[in-house]
Amino acid sequence: MAERREYYQNEDDEVEEDEEDSGGDYKISGRDSLVFLVDASKEMFIKGEDGEPSNFDMTMQCVRSVYTSKIISSDKDLVALVFYGTEQSKNPRNSFKHVYVYHDLDSPGSQCILDIDKLLGEKGAQFAEKTMGSGETSLGDALWCCSNLYSDIKLRLSHKRLMIFTCRDEHHGGDGAKDRQARTKAADLKETGVVIDLMHLTKPGGFDVSLFFCDIVSPPEDESELGLQIEPCRKLEDLQKRVRAKELKKRSQSRLTFSLGEGVNLAVGVYVLARTATKPSAVKLHRDTNEPVRTKTRYFHAHNGGILLPNDMKRAQVYGKKQIVMEKDEVDEIKKFDDPGLVLMGFKPMDRLKLHHHIRPALFIYPEEEQISGSSCMFTALLLNCSEKNLFALCRYIPRRNTPPRFVALVPQREELDQSQTQATPPGFHVIFLPFADDIRTVDAHVGPTASDEQVDKMKEIVHKLRFKYKSDAFENPVLQQHYRNLEALALNMLEPEPIEDLTMPKVQMMDARLGPLAQEFKDLVYPPDYNPEGKPAAKRKTAESGGGAAEKKAKVEMSEEELKNHVAKCTLGKLTVPVLKDACKQFGIRTTGTKKQELIDALTMHLSK
């Protein structure tokens, strides 16, 4: 019942530990921040041909989507929206002319979304004209203003990024002093660790980055990367993609040594490229004031009421009547087999990696030159060789201290580019978790008659009619979407949440239309006329697996003390179901603190062996 488990993830210690890895980053290394610095000059508001949205409109749509995604995925990140080249000025000390701070650096909330909505579309352009207008441009002042936004922040910032959106490759009409000032301010910002990106938009006659902006933006991450996209963004999707690729700081979950054998060690960063996004946990609020409420947990001695420090407590498990006690440290130590790291066992052909050997989402590794120099070269050599020979590397993997080992397959991944030459899949190794013997269940296969060629061919036609190109980002999670729409509705005082489109539902009508008579033809081939697959299965279904489910629930058992004592003596209480145990506890007036099975058993054992 893994499905139900998902809801109660927090009950599972191990899952919690994992969660700590992703969420914990913020607490430890500070927050990410992102400033959108948007050109508000007249040129930005010119509409494209055929009624295409203006560059300004496109930028705002893009900014809005970043805001909403931040709210959902990383609500602690700070975002600011600043316009420059405006007529009006609005900034903290109003010391800069023609710079309009629309949103100060802060974690985005519902009001921010509403504010941005005002700037969208035709009406948005009018609203912008009215509130900000277009005026003189000084990028230097704008950058200076942004640098003040950063320094006013009391929080520790881990990653600082500034994105300039403009369609003008030349800003100051040949005013060399202003150009110089902009360069100086950009240099200052970069000095303090701010990464400056240019999101340049279409300009009639082409956008020439080398005119001015090449001195403003940060140098590319590595020399081979083209850093400045030669082509400006034409379409919203392109812009969104480009922004999204930059907007998220990649964080390694951990950095580990990857040992090939005696003394040959490289360093790798471990990354999570896919992780099940879950509903965030609820926050407790005070009923009267809606203030957040914290919980404090204390342990104290039941008899003398003294506070118990960690040293005053031990850990215990009970088996039958035997209690086994250990120190907390010992409990941790049991899980320790070796230091964290990846240790190479050997190599296997890719076809030895079975499709059904799957227990967890994969991780990704990439070399860490900053830890061990030479790692990247060695890593690349391994990657090229494995990929050429179609092999995977088998490794023993220990992610953290006091964590038992797992075996993983390192599957080589060469870099893949999409049509617009942006990276679609990064180069590195995918880390696929392999199951141990315990993780593989014994399943008694159902063996039945197989289909004839004619039947298979008919199904092939059906498959052919319903084929589509699967894309991993094509499906939104309806549960999460609904949750956030609900919150949005409550936060923004909407009458009801915006409806979601549930992409996980089959488009039945369309499928039926595409299939036409094929479905019936197939049924005629495989099912006899009187067969109804939707009907209740035959009564004899009651085999071992399904045995007694319904009746069990109804079975209200009054058990005699004798019987129970017998169970206690034989240690077979565990075989009784929780409802039966609960009834038994009630029957003897035993008060139990919990409802976990073991607690009930312990309570009964204690009572009856007196």
């Binding site: 893994a2 499905e3 139900r4 607490k27 430890i28 609500d75 990649k250 951990s254 090939l260 896919a274 996004a277 926050v283 407790k284 203030e291 409420v293 204390r298 104290f300 005053d312 407590m313 088996y319 087999f337 190599f347 296997k348 079975k354 799957h358 994969a362 030159e369 061990i372 070269c377 050599a381 391994l382 953290r400 990276q423 141990f436 013997a437 993780d439 269940r441 159902h446 061919d457 199904m459 059906i462 699967y470 991993s472 499906f475 609900n486 409550l490 996980t504 089959p506 499928m511 299939l515 049924k523 495989v526 006899p528 697996e545 399904s546 069990e552 058990m559 034989k570 240690c571 179901t577």
Partner: protein, 693 residues
């Protein structure tokens, strides 16, 4: 009454361990462990696992070759030297202790067929009127005794009738042939290295024939797969295979469009097995759980930490920077509702478009046609075969039941020699994916490996292949992860067992064989020595001496844990200071100063002054804005008592501020010395008052 009781039982298995303790079992060739010891270990390990995994299966223990006789069939000199040591019961700690201390080699020999009959009798008698899912007898013997085969057919017949399955564990393999792995699904037996048939006594050869006879008549061609060697059993989980509880059946309908429906049943085939039992907290002296009371209180985030009753709290969710009150009732009413279990095809796609590394979730479900429904079987078979020949997969919406979240996943065709099924795996939602861009590796001049480097790695890979060709040219996987039991469980059970028997001993070291299981196979290790040396000389790998500020959270995984502790502590401290400063009154100032001092000590002890310095700079800057002059004066007042200041802290980045920041040292005298642990503890756990010092 009886009827009700029976229904409240979970269906389970019963198993009788039947071990030969006769004198031949104690013989051994020099340097080898006697069969008796090996068999005892197998039993011990099995029972250990049953006990600590709290398995509900019932286990009995029958010994033969014992000096005494104790069984229900013994009469007139028949069935002698066979002892029913324990009737069917859930294995408990007592049984473990008994095996350890009382299971001794006997001085007699007994017919293993007789022992088998005693076991059958025991099973039948004990399971009368109860329902068991599986009945199994495990025989551990060296077959070195004269047996009378005249009853063999009767025995086989009654085994079949009672649906009792058998497993044999012998010191030698059943035959020399390499039994190929049975499809790669389960932990199957592997070829044993011991020489077959060589050096067997006449009785053993004869016994082996009888074993083959029984096993093949019980299970036809697969029968011999249930004959293991002792060493097999120690490494793998062979005994468990037989009595494994089968995963729950999940009946559902596979639908394609509105009118095409196939009745199916799903089983969870692969999923991560976790440690089930959690640790309770007990008082250190009394070892009593009741002596520890846990109290959780709710309090406001104000300075008095005003307590709030649980009933006065409601739930809310963060929406960006806002917290939206959203009661459980409203949430339930407004949340996404699925319309129950389903397995609906959304469409079909090329298998190559589904990337292995994008598999999500924690399980693989095998989907079969409903049992005993041949029409469903044909329909599903058509789908499986069509997909297989087109190299396509179905993309489906999967919902386990009404209460569970729907998933999108892929159903792949899987055609085995004996059966066909679909393999279902969850795929990601858009929200699950993170688009990270990484710098280019391959065409990066800086990292491009040279031809000689590439060939060195090439040679290393060749020397480390884990798949080898055997004499017949078949490739053999020498390191099958799916045959290795999870060492975590074995280690936990070993420690529990040890502590249970010896409460005052320290924990034992990891068992050597368990460690060995996790190492590179020896042959591979030996083979790769030279190529590895070559790689070592061709690739300069140098640990970069890290500058302090580079340490971040990510390092705690492998490199530095200490820094993590410090950073969190500092974070908590600054948070606390900021909290205290919100309240401008002298008593709070003293607490703030205590915190600042603690912060400074932390910084000094971790050799990382930047955090502290930059915080102090910003605090100083904020003095006018926040009206904190009084506090600042207090901090500076202590200047006269100044103690030696550490170099790191002096290396403050902004020169003109150094003087003031320097003054802070003074306060250390007021508060004496702090212990790091205490600071952290009190700030996390009590959070109310710092005067506890």
């Amino acid at each position: 009454m009886c009827f009700h009781l029976f229904l409240s039982f979970i269906l389970q298995s019963a198993l009788v361990l039947c071990m030969d303790v006769g004198f031949s079992m104690s013989n051994s060739e020099p340097g080898q462990e006697p069969s008796f010891e090996q068999a005892k270990k197998v039993i011990q390990k099995f029972v250990q696992r049953q006990v600590f995994a709290e398995n509900k299966d019932e286990v009995g223990l029958v010994l033969f070759g014992t000096d005494g006789t104790k069984n229900g069939l013994a009469e007139d000199g028949q069935y002698e030297n066979i002892t029913v040591h324990r009737r069917l019961m859930m294995p408990d700690f007592e049984l473990l202790e008994e095996i350890e201390s009382k299971l001794q080699p006997g001085g007699q020999q007994a017919d293993w067929l007789d022992a088998l009959v005693v076991c059958m009798d025991l099973l039948q008698e004990e399971t009368m009127g109860k329902k068991f899912e599986r009945l199994n007898i495990v025989l551990l013997t060296d077959l070195n005794v004269q047996t009378s085969a005249d009853q063999l057919d009767v025995i086989i017949d009654s085994l079949k009738k009672a649906r009792i399955t058998l497993q044999f564990f012998l010191p030698f393999p059943v035959d020399g042939e390499d039994r190929a792995d049975g499809g790669g699904d389960g932990p199957g037996p592997s070829a044993a290295p011991v020489r077959p048939g060589k050096g067997l006594s006449r009785q053993q050869t004869q016994g082996l024939e009888m074993v083959k006879n029984i096993m093949t008549s019980l299970e036809e061609e697969d029968g011999l797969e249930e004959v293991y060697t002792f060493s097999d059993a120690l490494q793998k989980l062979s005994i468990f295979k037989r009595i494994d509880r089968r995963p729950m059946a999940w009946p559902c309908h596979l639908t394609i469009g509105s009118s095409l429906t196939i009745r199916i049943v799903g089983y969870k085939a692969v999923t991560e097995e976790k440690v089930k039992k959690s640790w309770a907290i007990v008082e250190a002296q009394s070892h009593q759980r009741d002596d520890v009371k846990r109290e959780t209180v709710y309090c406001l985030d104000d300075d008095n930490e005003t307590e709030v009753q649980k009933d006065d709290t409601i739930q809310g969710f963060r929406y960006g920077s806002d917290i939206v009150p959203f009661s459980k009732v409203d949430e339930d009413q407004m949340k996404y509702k699925s319309d129950g279990k389903c397995f609906s095809v959304l469409g079909f796609t090329k298998q190559e478009l589904i990337r292995r590394h994008q598999f999500m979730g924690s399980q693989v479900v095998k989907v079969f046609a409903a049992r005993d429904d041949e029409h469903a079987a044909v329909a599903l078979s058509a789908l499986i075969r069509a997909l297989d020949s087109l190299k396509m997969a179905a993309i489906v919406r999967y919902a386990y039941d009404r209460r569970s979240n729907p998933q999108v996943g892929a159903a792949f065709p899987c055609i085995k020699e004996k059966y066909e099924c679909l393999l279902y795996v969850q795929l990601p939602f858009m929200e699950d994916l993170r688009q990270f861009t990484f710098p280019v590796l391959e065409n990066n001049k800086k990292f491009k490996p040279s031809e000689s480097q590439l060939s060195a790695v090439d040679a290393l890979i060749d020397s480390m292949m884990l798949v080898e060709k055997d004499e017949d040219g078949e490739s053999v996987d020498v390191f099958k992860v799916n045959h290795i039991p999870n060492p975590q469980f074995q280690r936990l059970f070993q420690c529990l067992h040890h502590r249970g028997v010896n409460p005052d001993d320290p924990l034992p070291p990891v068992e050597p064989w368990l460690k060995r299981d996790l190492e590179r196979p020896q042959a591979v290790s030996a083979r790769c020595q030279t190529p590895l040396q070559d790689v070592k000389t061709k690739f300069p790998l140098k640990v970069v001496v890290k500058k302090k500020e580079q340490k971040t959270s990510a390092d705690r995984g492998g490199f530095d844990n200490r820094c993590f502790v410090t950073l969190t502590a500092c974070q908590q401290l600054t948070h606390r200071i900021e909290q205290l400063l919100g309240n401008r009154s002298p008593e709070y100032y003293m607490k703030s100063i205590a915190c600042i001092q603690a912060f400074r000590d932390q910084s000094v002890s971790s050799g990382n002054a930047e955090l502290f310095n930059s915080y102090m700079q910003s605090l100083k800057r904020s003095v006018p804005d926040r009206n904190l002059q009084e506090l600042w004066d207090l901090l500076i007042q202590g200047k006269e008592q100044s103690v030696c200041y550490y170099e790191e802290v002096q290396a403050a980045p902004v020169q003109e501020d150094t003087g003031d920041v320097d003054d802070l040292v003074s306060v250390s005298c007021l508060f004496g010395c702090f212990n790091d642990k205490h600071i952290i503890y009190y700030i996390c756990e009590c959070n109310s008052d710092l005067q506890v010092y």
